[in-house]
Symmetry: C2
Subunit: 352 residues, 2 copies
């Protein structure tokens, strides 16, 4: 089994864990190496669930923070082992997200008396179907392992704090009509024409751009599918509009649904699916300190990410990690070494 | 081969031709019987194209009228041979439309010196796909056989004159957009929302109800299909609306298209298909006399019928025949005997 030196140079550690292939579903070797390395530190309690490894301090601090990262990568594209040219480290996983994992592993090893209790979470199956997600499995099997006041996911964010995420909901609006032959259309009622009133609502809608805990979100309400009509000579008796709503994390799923039922009052509306957003938690003292140390204006995360899983446990969460997220999954995935060192420096300062 | 007595009782003749099965595609036996019977009359010139039979007088009159009926029926539903109870004749074809055919056959035999030249047209394949229609085939192969100043189709009309028919046109309106991820919808342009402007036009549209040659038509403009959307999290870049337009016979296809291009100015519009309407021709002297003899207020025909094929040749046409059109194609198809006799009486008076 590969042996990890958690306290050596952070770039060496990053390369070592990148060079242990861990495509989703094949994380075992890396998870074993991580578990073994962490068990060498008596200040850590180490737990394991399948190929997820959790390590935590138990110092009795008032505040506990969670640092989480996934061990898996998308498939290798002839871009391993890693290479380094000047200050650029290239190869599968360097951005998404083993540089972040390396930073968390080094913090776990070095910080035997952090100012907050810290839980480190290394999980599997992030890059595949949501139902396989290792963090989701931990939420189901061991929610207590994830307990905390604030969480950071080490996903690449170009060294900026990306806070929380917006929720998403899809609803189906059914507009009825009365069928008739098109030659005598006035005997029927055209459901497609009536659906124009739904599109009126959508066209007039002014999405909120609320500031939540210092971050500006941007909501959305959009038809993503419309269908109606039976035949070329029949007045349609049914038109269906599917609407996607993105909502800022100051609203939960129930509030978003109530909002849509109000916006579309008088229409038959059914919720097809929904996922809550996540509050950034930047109003928490530990989070404020962290943002100050990063020294850059935090940004709202608009898409849905794993931080929402923490939100489901009532834990505010942000993304923060080295690397350009636009390079994730590309064959030319690479990370500037200074960003790795900067992340390590910021997090060390914050937790020391 | 069955022998037809064209000069006997009209009810006997109706029953005889009903009792020769002639479901679409199987009209040969009846067409042969009709041709043979008509050839017995030296005042008629008899022509044949596949299973269509045409007979005409050649008296050199200034006016020629066309009386046309189809020989075929929808499939038999255990409703042959015909039965008669009191004054009701029941069975397949009694309404649609062998009573009308019987009346025309008797007129052809008896009227050796009608006041107008008359062309009698008996054709096949009316009850199936339009491309098989025997009248359409005659239009293509022998338009000269159909020449005339006014035409009557003997389809059931409850003894009322139903004049002309409305035209029909389908157009496809393509509304573009710009795709984007639903989490950042403002980076795109929602094609479904933009299609709301098409539905605005449709909802605000006031269809004309013009009086054409004394008959009131009623136009229509209706979406008959709408589709748009790629995936639940993508702002759609395309929405398509199919619109059906029914237009009164004071407009031809080109005028209807020009009207739609004006109504939907600014939208990408493509004509999918179109069929012209037919003017009723009730301003022609022969037609006026006929309507007076019928003695009932003529009605506009709103649906598209074979009269439109005459319109394509520049011949105004109406529907007039015994029987309730709502009984056509039903298992309980039946016709009141007085309606058959009345049609024979009216047409005889008109042509004598």
């Amino acid at each position: 089994m590969a042996s990890l030196d958690l306290t050596g140079d952070i770039v060496d550690l990053t390369r070592t864990i990148c060079d242990i292939p861990s495509v989703s579903g094949d994380e075992r070797a890396l998870a074993d190496a991580v578990e073994t390395a962490l068990r060498a530190y008596p200040h850590l309690e180490v737990l394991r669930d399948a190929d997820a490894v959790v390590a935590r301090t138990t110092l009795g601090r008032d505040t506990r923070v969670v640092l989480a990262g996934h061990l898996d990568t998308v498939p290798i594209a002839n871009n391993l082992p890693t290479t380094i040219t000047g200050e650029i480290l290239s190869g599968r996983g360097t951005v998404d997200m083993k540089a972040g994992v390396a930073v968390f592993l080094q913090l776990a090893a070095l910080l035997d008396h952090p100012r907050y209790d810290v839980t480190y979470v290394f999980y599997d199956h992030e890059e595949v179907a949501a139902k396989l997600n290792g963090l989701g499995r931990l939420v189901r099997n061991h929610p207590d392992w994830l307990a905390g006041d604030f969480a950071i996911l080490g996903e690449p964010s170009d060294g900026t704090v990306e806070g929380g995420c917006q929720g998403t909901m899809r609803v189906k609006i059914t507009v009825p009509g009365v069928a008739a032959h098109a030659a005598r259309s006035w005997r029927g009622s055209n459901a497609i024409h009536s659906a124009g009133a739904v599109l009126d609502v959508l066209r007039a809608y002014q999405p909120r751009q609320p500031v939540v805990e210092g971050l500006q979100y941007h909501e959305g309400l959009n038809a993503v599918k419309i269908e109606g009509g039976i035949a070329g000579n029949v007045i349609p008796d049914l038109c269906t509009v599917y609407v996607n709503h993105r909502f800022a994390p100051d609203r939960d799923v129930a509030a978003a649904e109530a909002h849509l039922r109000s916006v579309f009052a008088g229409f038959e509306l059914e919720v097809v699916d929904a996922a809550p957003g996540a509050r950034p938690g930047l109003d928490r003292p530990a989070a404020k300190e962290f943002v100050d140390l990063v020294g850059r204006v935090p940004q709202a995360k608009l898409g849905w990410t794993d931080v929402s899983r923490f939100a489901g446990l009532g834990i505010p969460a942000v993304n923060y990690g080295p690397g350009d997220p636009l390079l994730a999954h590309t064959d030319g995935e690479h990370v500037p070494v200074p960003e790795i060192r900067q992340a390590l420096r910021v997090l060390t300062s914050w937790l020391s």
